[in-house]
């Protein structure tokens, strides 16, 4: 039986469970989480009662009641007493936009770290590696209000040692710091981490402008945070990998998909260019018209499932990303589990109506 107790999951290697066994076990855990949150988060209980079809335990992952990830931007949803919240994470957002507020207790936070370490084993091995963060240390200045960027850097810093920042406080490339880091760890594997657009804008572009080429031959670069800005510049995942290989000599460039609302259970991109659900998480693609599930190959709204969230009802979340299941278990890379691709954000249509005239004018 897999219920709320995470032991079973912590014993699973991330990409070895076959789809059927995983679905059965994860459904049980999802049922337990749904019930937990129903009992501990009154607002969630109301949503379950009114807005979802859920009525007790379900048989399949697709039947697990889900809520929109956007809800965390509009409401405070918590399944533990306020005094047990020891960290509140917020999503990144430009000024004026609402941000998600995710309440973590120690248990959920610890579970995030444990699960992430299982997945990170696939990227860097069992040992912590010297780490170069391709960002500015100023992102971490305000510890009380972690932005998604800060939380991501901190979360992944756990897997590095001798953590060094490649950018200065003003987001300029700090070449002396990078060179000193590379000298110190010459001939050793190193771990690089950053956000996709930041790497492109503040690492690759300055290097290119300087005509400089780095030789981080034993580097593994993990990056995430979305492709929207790079899609605008027509940079694909493949271009990105080739460019980083070219400008910094990095052989292994791994993209991940994840969100602050489900920190820990990230989805890694494989050599074939597909994102993989680890044992602890899964992905469902839904039709925009009625939220019915779509078969592999069809593009729809991405729902993400994770066994981690306990202090907030975020175990089954409907995102605003469009994606497509590419297959179950049989990826050529050898990893098991649902693999998928993300096609970008769902289009935001102009809303019609008779309010907001003078203010909205360009």
């Amino acid at each position: 039986m897999t219920g709320l107790d995470p032991t079973f999951w912590l014993d699973q290697p991330p990409f070895a469970m076959d789809a059927e066994a995983k679905a059965a076990a994860l459904t049980q855990t999802m049922n337990a989480l749904t019930e937990w949150h129903r009992q501990h988060c009154p607002a969630y209980a109301r949503i379950l009662d009114v807005a979802t079809d859920a009525d007790g335990p379900v048989q399949t992952l697709a039947q697990v009641p889900f809520i929109p990830v956007r809800l965390f931007k509009e409401m405070d949803l918590r399944s533990v007493p306020e005094d047990q919240v020891f960290k509140t994470m917020t999503s990144s957002g430009t000024s004026g936009q609402q941000v998600s507020r995710i309440f973590l207790d120690r248990e959920t936070s610890a579970l995030q770290t444990k699960i992430l370490s299982r997945i990170m084993g696939e990227v860097i091995g069992r040992k912590r590696l010297p780490m170069l963060v391709i960002d500015s240390p100023s992102v971490l200045k305000d510890r009380n209000a972690f932005s998604a960027r800060g939380a991501g850097i901190l979360g992944f810093s756990m897997f590095g040692q001798n953590v060094t920042y490649a950018l200065d406080d003003k987001m300029n490339l700090d070449l002396p710091a990078i060179e000193a880091f590379l000298d110190r760890h010459a001939g050793q594997p190193v771990f690089l981490f950053g956000f996709t657009f930041m790497i492109w804008q503040h690492f690759y572009k300055p290097l290119q402008a300087l005509g400089q080429r780095l030789a981080i031959d034993q580097g593994v670069l993990l990056h995430g945070g979305g492709w929207k800005k790079l899609q605008d510049e027509a940079v694909s995942s493949r271009d990105f990998r080739a460019t980083l290989q070219d400008c910094a000599g990095i052989d292994r460039v791994v993209n991940y998909y994840g969100m602050v609302e489900q920190t820990g259970s990230i989805f890694l991109e494989c050599e074939e260019g597909f994102l993989h659900a680890p044992a602890y998480a899964d992905v469902i693609v839904r039709d925009l018209g009625d939220f019915s599930t779509l078969p592999p190959g069809e593009t729809g709204l991405v729902e993400v499932l994770s066994m981690i969230p306990r202090s907030y009802p975020g175990h089954a979340l409907l995102t605003e990303d469009l994606g497509r299941i590419e297959g179950l278990d049989h990826c050529a890379c050898g990893r098991r589990g649902t693999h998928f691709t993300i096609a970008g954000r769902v289009a935001r249509a102009e809303v019609r109506g008779c309010s907001d005239t003078y203010e909205a004018a360009a």
Partner: protein, 401 residues
Amino acid sequence: MKPLPDLPLTIRVGGPLGTLDRRPLKPYAEPVLAFLAALSKALLSQAEVREHPDVATFAFWCRAANLARLSAEFDRRHARLGRGLVLHIAPSNVPVNFAYSFAFGLLAGNANLVRIPEGFVQVEIICDAIAALFDRPEHARVASMNRLVRYPRDDAITAALSAECQGRMIWGGDATVAHLKRLPAHPRCVDVAFADRYSLCLLGAEAVLATDDKALAELVRGFFNDSYLFDQNGCSSPHLVLWRGSDASVAAAQQRFWPALERVVQAAYPLADARTVDKFTHLCRTASEVAEVRSATRHGNLIYRIALTALPADIAAHRGQFGTFFEHAAEDLEGLAAIVTERYQTLTCFGVDRQEVVDFIVDRGLPGIDRVVPVGKALDMGVVWDGYMLVEELSRIVHSA
């Protein structure tokens, strides 16, 4: 009268600002009727207009026969003249509204400056038609009095224009109205302000049950037009559906009404974008925030129906989105008296005696509801709107005793 100052506006239709003729006409003046009738004809004869029912509806409204009817109904006990120059701040997200606003100003006998929205083909169609008519000698008087303009949000320009205006038509809800009213205007300036409004629908259960297929199709098409054409965001689009009848007949009528509406929405309202997510998010939030919510019925993502255990007094604070309707059943109109505030604008009705409803509003002195119209007519603009008689508001009386 001295000419208007030169301002950094983009003139879409009409000559330079400095040449604007601000001498007023009397309401329903011959040159204005001839111009609007010609505009109606020009638009209705364009094949392109077929794709834009909102443009066609405007053109149909300003056809000669309808203007003649409006003119005949106009109260001429007093001599009247246009107030002078009217500034129209039109909604930026409803394409055709500017044209009605302009026409009301014209019919009242005014010179008009209309700030028009960007980015709609409908706006360009109407502007092109107006521009072509302005070039014709028979419309020279009307052309000399009117300018359709664009300018970015700029308080300096709006203030400079306001200082010259004897009337302002301010569309765009509470925020815009509050903002523009803070700008100093001409001391004689009359503001006709269109604030945020809330609208609802009253359906007689027995009448819905008695519809044949054709009448039902017309009813749900009308309801669809009222609600979905502006993403349920028009000030007269309903958010609450009140059913009148016994519990049993209401339940049966709902079984007849909503599936029929669903078929129309399915065919005419593609929802394959972020609105779906917004709609579902809104439903979840409403479920947790409104204690009176009993249950929700989802017709796919096309229609969300939210059943209430009782009508919360602040129901108007909970608007639907993209086809989300609160529902409540009652045997009589008493429930209305408990909820209606000055924010309430349009009550669309089916299977209910509208005169009875109007009498109820007046007898009980309800602070809101300005329009009681059949389902399907919620968005029909006219010279009586939002509780104003617009031609009267925008003209002045020359009294003799």
